[in-house]
Every structure is written in C-alpha cells, then in structure tokens.
Subunit: 184 residues, 2 copies
C-alpha cells in the first residue's frame, strides 16, 4: 500500500483529522488538527454541519489524500446525542465522498488494537503510541490522535491485504485448492 490516508474522527463540536503518508519504508506524518464548531458564530445545527463539511473539504484540498478512514460511531446513552453525532458524521462522510475519496470504516476497538495492540487502551495510550509510531515531537490532541490512529489502522489493514495478495501471487493455487476443499 502506498499513498496518503486521511483519518477522520467525527464529532459535532470537534472533528479530528490526521494525514499519514505510506510508502515502501513505512508511515510518515503529514498533518493533523481539529475542525471546531463550538466557538462558531453560526452555532445552529446547519451552520455547524457547514463548518464540518467545508473543513473536511479544505483538508482534502490542502493535503490531497488518496483515501479516507473514518471511525464508526456508536449509539450514545443519550439518544439526542446519538442523533447529533450521526448528523456530524453524515456531513463529514458527505464531504469525503463528494471529494471523490474511497472511505474505509473502523471501530474504536479496531483502532486501539491496531495502534496500541489491545482493545482496552486508554485515550492517552493512543496518543502516546501515535506519537511514537509517527515520531512526533510531542503528543497530538485527543481528536487528532484518534484521526491519525484511524489512518494508521487503515495503513495496517492495507498492508495486511497487500501481504495476503503477495502470498496469493506467490502460491496462486493454494487458495483455489482450499476453496475447492481438495488437493491436486
């Protein structure tokens, strides 16, 4: 896998983004940050969704990623919060697909497993591992760390797929044999 991955951690008040470059040697940090709608003068819901949509569009225009990796959000204890989070995620996804990016989706569990190694990792452990993996001089913010973590998760998933593809290319009949349930 080669190219730039844009990770997005969607939220109504704060949407994290992180861009990571993947080449033959490994991962490199490109950019990260947060799209905030809290302090916005346009504080109604459509205004906030506009800030998210345009913020993501600007990130795409600036860093020209090849694909996106977005956190799968879950239902909240508060149904109203679920509805608001859903709308924020919908605006972010709309901006990604409008920008022509293929979108992969990962759960927080997959993110933690890929970045820290287990699913029980705390927020600060994700921040520390992201900083280490990308050789950052300091800890990224929580939303930006999650976004960078999502990009790393997708890079790892892509690398695994690529590794599988290589194995398949080397021994093309192995899979066919397995699928057919008999050997030649």
């Amino acid at each position: 896998m080669k190219g730039r991955i844009l990770g997005i951690d969607p939220g109504l008040q704060s949407t994290g983004f992180g861009v990571v470059e993947v080449d033959g040697r490994g991962l490199a940090y490109v950019a990260s940050g947060t799209i905030r709608t809290k302090e916005a003068a346009q504080s109604d819901l459509p205004g906030r969704l506009k800030i998210i949509f345009e913020g993501v569009r600007e990130v795409i225009a600036t860093y020209a990623p090849d694909c996106a990796s977005v956190e799968i959000v879950f239902v909240n204890v508060n149904p109203q919060s679920t509805l608001l989070l859903g709308q924020a995620r919908g605006a972010a996804l709309a901006s990604l697909v409008a920008g022509g990016l293929p979108v992969a989706e990962y759960t927080a569990l997959q993110l933690k497993k890929a970045v820290v190694g287990h699913g029980h990792a705390k927020k600060h452990q994700v921040q520390e591992m992201v900083a280490r993996l990308l050789q950052l001089p300091g800890l990224p913010g929580k939303d930006a760390a999650d976004a960078l973590g999502l990009a790393i998760t997708h890079a790892h998933a892509g690398a695994s797929l690529a590794a599988m593809a290589r194995v398949t290319a080397l021994a093309p009949r192995t899979h066919a044999q397995y699928r057919r349930g008999r050997t030649y």
Copy 2:
C-alpha cells in the same frame, strides 16, 4: 415572502424533495420527487450518503431554490436507526449548506399544523391537503408530500413573519413598550 422553497424530508433509504414557488398571489408547485438509495449498487453507508448528497445537489442545480426547509428528525425507538437517520440528515443538510442555501427547520407537528390545521393529521391527510393547496392532479408520494408540506410550512411561517414585520413597522414602539414592561 417571494421565491422558491426547497423542502427536504430526509431518510437513509428515501429522501423526499419538493419545490414550491411563492409569489404575491400564493403558492405554486414546481417539482417533487424522491432520492432513493435502496436499489443502489453502492449500498454501503458512505455510498448511500453520496447518493443523498449528490441527489440534493442535483435538485438545487435543476430548480435553483432560494432557501430550504428541512424536517427535524427525532430519536427512534431503535438507537441504531436514530444513528443512520442522523447520518442521512447530516448528508442532506451538508448538501444544502454547501449549495449556499439558508436552512429553516420544522418538526412534523409544525408541518401538520401548517398544512392540515392540527397536529394529529395522518400521512394521507397531509398528502391530500398538499395536493389541494398546490392544485396537483393526483396525490404525491408520502415522502414527496412531506417535503412539499415542509416548503408550504416555511412559506406560511415566512408570510407570518412578513406580516409581523409590517405590523412592527406600523407601530414600532409597541414591542419596545412590551419588552420594557411599562407604557409611556
């Protein structure tokens, strides 16, 4: 109030739209329909949100509305459905604000009151009243009827605001007196 109003009834499988023209004499039907994602080959969530986003954008490009009126959705008994509906609404709203349209929001209750006259109206009553108010030759579909109803609701609200503005212009001190809680 004058101009074209685009009503949107958002949903993940089916998003209704309806365009109504308001002039000095009343309301006129322009167009209505449904953006469907059910039969789509791109049936994953980002693919469906893309269809909604681009469908709304196409409606805007085709009918050039001046503003939009969108139904306020509520939490569902099923939290997962709430999350999906939220994302559909987020994509629709993103398309509207990306298209530069000011967005008004109304509840289903406000829609029924504005169109039928009371909040207990059934779906088919909304369809019948929309057909009568816009002099349609037949009943519009349910999603399209709701969308046209939202446009009508906004036209009525706009007309009321305009009427209030006229009253205020005629007697500008009335409001000031009321606010200050005393008379001069």
